[in-house]
Symmetry: C2
Subunit: 220 residues, 2 copies
Amino acid sequence: MKSYLLETLKELALLGGIKNKIEISSFELAKQLSTSQQTASRYLVELDKKNMITRELGVKKQLIIITKEGEKQLYDEHMQYQQIFELTDRIIFKGKVISGLGEGRYYTEQPSYVEQFKKKIGFIPYPGTLNVEIEYVEKNKLRLLKDQRAINIDGFNTKNRSFGSVKCFNAKINSLDGAIVLPNRSHYSNVLEFISKFYLREKLKLKDNDNVKIIIYFKN
Amino acid sequence: MKSYLLETLKELALLGGIKNKIEISSFELAKQLSTSQQTASRYLVELDKKNMITRELGVKKQLIIITKEGEKQLYDEHMQYQQIFELTDRIIFKGKVISGLGEGRYYTEQPSYVEQFKKKIGFIPYPGTLNVEIEYVEKNKLRLLKDQRAINIDGFNTKNRSFGSVKCFNAKINSLDGAIVLPNRSHYSNVLEFISKFYLREKLKLKDNDNVKIIIYFKN
DNA sequence: ATTACTAGTAAGCGAGTAT
DNA sequence: TATACTCGCTTACTAGTAA
């Protein structure tokens, strides 16, 4: 939706247009929007065409009520502002399932990691990680993670090699609980590794390139 | 601010631009906004000129951070959406002080009203009401009041005449507590009558035509 | 790769005005 | 009174491209 139409719809909502019919002339609306009567009239016609509002045109003013569809548009916008200013204990990522190189399995089966997962995040992960490639531009959001307190999984050494420490965040993938694992010694990539007590590809019927939504939660 | 600039700023905020420098090319931003690279570039230049963002232009991408001023713009917008969807226990009116006909004083001095005010809204009003004329278009908001549970002040009869019942809402005027009085037997006008235990014109140094902000609270 | 200028085109605006 | 059309003007958009 064009941004000026959303602005107009918001103005109507502020006047109570979601629950009530509001009585407003295109001239009055124009004043509210700091524009001309003609433009306000055009906006109303456009909003009407897009089924965002319903109008009862009288001889004088018009009675306007915001439709369910219009309310949904506004609510979506509201949720974005909530995300910016209120829901600062979480970050939402959109991404798609990709295949990793199978290393995830090797790591998640190390007894020392497993023990810590059980103790610190409360479950023993199904072997392997689900790799989710986030949209390139969302890499910026990853930077928000570094200021957050994470669950720390300590590194350790075996006879053969050493394993580095890892950061975890409680997370959800398509509403299912689990955690995100971020190796401490690596740059942020655009791939998130999700662990869960379930075999996710089966449980959520996921296959490569499926779109998923991941919510990462912070401790406060 | 132009609505498309606000939309752009919101997009940058969603990527974490309020607290962090975000790394984004005009091409990527264009994708997010479903527009062309040139337009995205122009938006960024405009936002920069208006001091909504600060940019560090590198050879490749650019590092962007939203300024305090930009954050304030977004927050104002957020508060409007809060008003629409969250703060449904209140309505905010802007208006200006006008002189009434002095009837307010007559009413607020009736012992039966005074007694009920004391009991039901917790204070004895300073004699008289402060009349606030709300902007014409905000009359629509008054309609929201009728669905709300109000504090009811009963009517009564004296030897000489009868006094009708009255609805009250707890309210604030410029942050000072008081109440709004709405006669039950009258159409909604564009004048709100505010009562307070203080003489408001003195306490708040108000004179005719001064702009005031009234918040009306509902019981839930 | 980028950013962002120029210039031609498209969309938006509002004065005038019909209804 | 209103709403909303036409039409000339302005603003916004994007392809091409320089830096």
